[in-house]
Each structure stands twice: as structure tokens, then as C-alpha cells.
Point group: C2
Chain length 385, copies 2
């Protein structure tokens, strides 16, 4: 096992009726900015419930945060925070709203030009506004980590940043608030969480027995609940488990002390930035091809994945690996997820553009061995056509 | 899944050379009290390493904290904290030293008589001195939770308390510091961690799929490494995994949102208080009999435990449950652990005393269904003769 630090101070309030606890969690008298996405939070009553729980605190609203939150949009929120002297932020939504809120929290008092937060991956952040979240879409794990991904529309650049200053102080996870989500978003959440786990698990053996077992447990749970959670939207236990899997998938725990990959994410980000394909869907396109291309480097963990997650014991090693990748693809497709670039009308010309974007963003040595060069990324994308 | 709150702000620094980070973790210039157990920390050099890392801070020492730390001993440390105006506590040791340090942290500024902290299970604690830990014995999980157990020698009373004020600020986990531990203590650690997991897992199904998978993963890891970790004391990966399992076994994660038992612990505490049997050894005595006595209430989870942890698929349900309990006992015994009261020279007369102690401490309705009355405890203890 590698040396590691693990720190996660976010307080989780999980279950029904937890939004009512906002009053005791939020500083008394604080000027609060509620950040949210589309109008669904208002229509389904969650926004009203949140405002009611906040009592007589001065409340401001910032709606319209889009999927893949943009620098352009979030900078308007930063201006509002400054002009209204906001003391506490409350994200109400999914990963995009929470990621955007983290950027606002870090940018509000940032000394330099806020875009440089992204260009330096957050390493110069020295403070942030405190904030909490009310999660309505289980997927990204942003509610329980200190990472965020922001897109600059004018340059089609999607970059991540991390800082221990942007852990949410608390996150409220009420599974019943996910009942009204469109099937497409739930499918995205299942795949997003699945591939978050894979990025921290499917590398090479490093003696992290606990991390491996936890990762396998999350994958097994997703395989078990995936189709059901789409078919029966108001099953409280299924939604609760999806929500908790998604938080555990990316809260630092399973990745502590073991190698990590993240090449699927970096390549996928370019697909979203260039073609606005849903984040999870880009991952479902890239991962199967990446596993084929990197199968030698990932040989031992692919065999472990085949046996422990898919219970594959028949065939020689190559056959077991092929079967594991085949079942992974079948799992994504069982959730209505397309897994090829051509399904989205993309072809060889798109790959040229994606490679240029990867190069422009410095993504020239990806993966747990840093051996996914631009040429290897090209092979991966061609395998995904 | 049940509603739950999860909060664990302890920062973990895991791996080799981590003691050197004490300087950046401890407040500059703070008057530090180092608390430790026997002389092994001094002899094996860990104490010197710790003091060296603390630089020129004023350092005070309090050694001699015994296994099952006593109120009597720890009150002397409280007096030292008050008289020397200590600002920061540093526990160097295992669960007993850390539990004792938590009591000192809570008692230093406690308004009432400190023993009432135990009598009220910690619920009236309103502040605590900040403290960190350097873990040298993986077992209790105290390094990453907010619980503590203290024994009052004069009345043979062993009671737990919990408070979010007594989370360690940080814990340093360097697996190489466990190399010199006696085999007996490592065996105790394996069994202690195993039964911590069991107490939060082997109850009744509650839809906590993640919690179940994580618990099973910890148990599988312990089964896999248990005998090896005794046989090869200087295997860094084995020691690292034992250390991380023990922390994960009792840091609040696997027990969040699911029913918990803890009857084995409550009965075991009486065995330790009355006869000074090692904590883990009392658990290995009580658990097998408790599982037999409670097998109807635990039927479904016992079957799940048999299948997922022990891969038992042959036989009818009762046979599979018997086999799972048999293998659990065999696992404890493979670690050199005796599992009967008679192995420790105890008989029916001892049971009468233990029952009186359980009654005196209010332990009259134990277990996840609160249906382990004194009569049931008697049956469990008689089954363990």
C-alpha cells in the first residue's frame, strides 16, 4: 500500500426529512446564496422547502447553472456574492451545481484572476466561503469531496481543481428527492459512479486490500441495483443505495493509498467540451476501448475485476478479461447508454479535433503509468468509433 | 436503509516516515502532553522519534496507561494537564492510550465530576482539549472515532462514552511501528477488529447494501491476512492492511444507517472488568455463543455472512449457519485465541457474578432488538462455558 493522507470533514445528513435540519446547520443570521440549476428544483418544491428551513435569514438566489457548469455563468454568481456580501453558499442540485458552488466559494476571495484557479488545479487557493449542499442527483460524489470541474465555454476548455478549502461543511442526502429525476439522469449517475470507482481500482495491484474490497463492493452494488433503480423510481432503498454508492465512489476513501488512472475522464472531458455529450456518456464511450488498449498494463486487476465483480471463472485469462469488458459494456447498454462515438455521429475527423484539444490541455501522459500518450489516446478513440 | 448522520473529521496520515509530520500538525509553541502506555514506546524509539518531531515545544510526559485505561490513572493525567496548563495532547500507543487521552481531553474542562462523563455516556461534553494520536497497535479503531471506554477499578465498572468533541484532530498510522508488537497483541487486534465489524453487520437486513459490502470486505480481508500477519510480522503490506481494516471497522462508516448489536461487547466488558481478560479475548468467548442463541433473530444475515464471507453454499440453512459459526470459532482459534470461559478457569459461579454486574450497569436489554435480557445473557454465558 502506498503512503497516503485521508481527510474528509463533510458532515452527511442522510435520509428523509433531513432538509429541515438546514436551520441548525447554517450560521444564524447569515446572508445565504442558494445556487441551483434549472427550474425543476423550484417546480418540485425542493427550493421552497430549503427556503422555509432557512427561516428568516436573508436569502438570495442564483439559478440557471447548466450541466458542465461554465466559468462564464459562475463568474456572475461570484459578482453577486461580492455585491450582496454573501456569507454562506447553499448548493441545491447535483454535481454541476455543487462543482459550480465550489468554484464560487474559492473565487469569491481569490487574489488572482479566478480562471487561474483552474489553470493551477486549485493549488493556490488559501480560503473559501463556507457552503453546504442539498443533493438532488446522485452521481458525481461532489457532495462529499473537495474537487470540482469547470468549463470555459469560449475556449471549450474543461478543467478540474481540488482544494481542502472546498469540502462542503455539510451535505443533505434525501433519496426521496431523486424520485422525479428523468431516467436519463439516473442512468448517467449509475455509470458516472461506476467509472469513478473503476478509475481508482482498475490499475495494477498495490496491496490495498481494503480499498479493493470496498471498490468491488461499490461496483457489485451498482451492478445489482442499476437496472432496478431505473425501473422503479420510487423505491426508497434502491435510491438510497445509489446515493450512498455515488458519494463513497469519490470521497477519497477507495483511492487512498492506491494508484489511480483517470485517463477515461480526461479524454471524456474533451468529448463533453467539444460536443456537449453528457459526462457519464463520454465515460461509457471511452472506458471499454481504454480497457482493451491498456489490457496488458491492467492485466492482473482486470482478472481480479472479472472474478470478484462479475464472478467470471471460465476460460483462459484473455477470455476472462474479454468477458469482463463485454459485461461492462452490456451493463452500460442495459441502462440505455450508447458506447460508441458513431452513436453520437462522430467519426475520424472528430478524433483529430479531440487529440488537438488533449494536446492543448497538456493531457499527453495519462493513466496510472503516465503512458497514455496522444498516440495511445488516438488508438483508444479509434477503438471507440 | 435507516436515516443517519456521518461525520468524521480526523485526518489520517498513513505510511512510513509520517511521524515527522507532527511538527506541521501540532500547534506551534503549544505545551504538549504525550500520553503513552508501558515502556515499549520508549524502548523501541518511537517516543524519541515523536519528541524529536515536536521540536522545541514544551513537552510533558504521562506514561503507564494500562490496558483498559482506568479512571484512577487518567485522573492523574487530568491533574497534570491542569497544573501544567497543557494545550495539546498527543496519544502514542494503541486503543487504551487513545481512549484514555480522549477522557483526559473531555475531563480537563468538564464542569461536573469527571466520572459523570461515563455515567451519562458523554452526552454533556461541551468542549475538549485538542489532541492527535500516533497509533502503534491496530485494533480498536479509537484513532479514527469519537468513542472511548474507561474502567473504574474501585467498582469494577467499565463504561463507554462518545462525543464529537473527542475526534482526534489527526492520527498517524505507520504500519512499521507495529513490527515489534507481541503476537498476542496482534491476535487481539485481528479479533477486536473482526468483532467490531460483526457488531454492526450481523443483525437483520436493513437495505444497507454498501454498508454490508464494506463490512464483508473488511471481514474477508481479516480472514485472509489473520494468520499471515502473525506469522510474518515485518510484512509491510499485511501490517498496513490490518491497520487500515481496524480503523475502518469502527470509524462510523459501516454502521451508518444500519442496525447495530454490541451485546457481545457489553457482556465482554464485564468479563474484563471482573477477571481482567483481554478485551478481544472476551469477545471471542461471547460471540460464538451469542450467535447460536440469537440465530433466529439473525437468521438472514447469518446466511448472508456464511455465503459472502465464508463462501459456504452447501447444506440447508441451519447447516450453513452452523458451519459459519464453526469457521468463525476456528478462525479465532487459528490466531491462538481461546473461546470458552472454562479456558480461563471460569465456571457457573462466575456467571452469577457477571449477571450481577450486567444488572448493576443497566445492561438488561441488549442487542439490535433489545431482547437480550439478563436471562438471555445467562444463556449466552452458559453456552460459552
Amino acid at each position: 500500500m502506498n503512503n497516503f493522507e485521508f481527510y474528509n470533514p463533510t458532515k452527511i445528513l442522510f435520509g428523509t426529512e433531513t432538509i429541515a435540519k438546514l436551520d441548525s446547520l447554517t450560521p444564524a443570521g447569515a446572508r445565504v446564496l442558494i445556487l441551483f440549476g434549472g427550474e425543476s428544483a423550484r417546480k418540485n418544491g425542493t427550493l421552497d422547502e430549503v427556503k422555509s428551513a432557512l427561516g428568516d435569514r436573508p436569502i438570495f438566489e442564483f439559478g440557471g447553472i447548466e450541466a458542465n457548469p461554465s466559468y462564464e455563468t459562475m463568474m456572475r454568481a461570484v459578482e453577486l456574492v461580492r455585491s450582496e456580501n454573501i456569507a454562506f453558499l447553499l448548493a441545491v442540485g447535483g454535481g454541476s451545481v455543487i462543482d459550480g458552488t465550489k468554484f464560487v466559494a474559492a473565487a469569491a476571495n481569490y487574489a488572482g484572476e479566478p480562471w487561474s484557479i483552474l489553470e493551477t488545479f486549485g493549488q493556490h487557493i488559501e480560503s473559501a466561503l463556507p457552503f453546504g449542499t442539498v443533493l438532488t442527483l446522485p452521481a458525481t460524489g461532489s457532495e462529499m469531496n473537495c474537487g470540482s470541474v469547470i468549463t470555459r465555454r469560449e475556449t471549450s476548455t474543461k478543467l478540474p481543481f481540488m482544494s481542502s478549502y472546498v469540502f462542503p461543511q455539510f451535505s443533505i442526502l434525501d433519496p426521496t428527492k431523486t424520485y422525479t429525476l428523468p431516467t436519463r439522469q439516473i442512468a448517467n449517475g449509475v455509470v458516472d459512479a461506476f467509472i469513478h470507482v473503476i478509475e481508482q481500482y482498475l490499475t495494477y495491484p498495490a496491496g490495498g486490500m481494503v480499498q479493493d474490497r470496498f471498490a468491488e463492493g461499490l461496483l457489485q452494488t451498482l451492478v445489482e441495483i442499476g437496472p432496478k433503480v431505473l425501473a422503479t423510481p420510487e423505491d426508497a432503498d434502491l435510491r438510497a443505495n445509489l446515493m450512498w454508492v455515488a458519494s463513497m465512489a469519490l470521497n477519497g476513501l477507495i483511492g487512498a493509498g492506491v494508484p489511480q488512472d483517470w485517463a477515461t475522464h480526461m479524454i471524456g472531458h474533451e468529448l463533453t467540451a467539444a460536443y456537449e455529450i453528457d459526462h457519464a456518456r463520454t465515460l461509457a464511450i471511452v472506458l471499454p476501448s481504454l480497457l482493451q488498449v491498456q489490457r496488458k498494463d491492467k492485466h492482473e486487476k482486470l482478472l481480479q475485476y472479472a472474478e470478484r465483480v462479475w464472478a467470471i471463472t471460465e476460460g483462459d485469462e484473455d477470455q476472462r478479461i474479454d468477458e469482463a469488458i463485454r459485461r461492462t459494456v452490456a451493463f452500460f447498454e442495459s441502462l440505455g447508454m450508447q458506447t460508441h462515438l458513431s452513436d453520437y455521429g462522430l467519426d475520424q475527423n472528430s478524433i483529430d479535433l479531440l487529440l488537438k484539444q488533449l494536446e492543448a490541455h497538456g493531457m499527453t501522459a495519462l493513466g496510472e503509468h503516465k503512458n497514455i500518450s496522444l498516440d495511445v489516446s488516438r488508438t483508444i478513440l479509434e477503438g471507440a468509433l
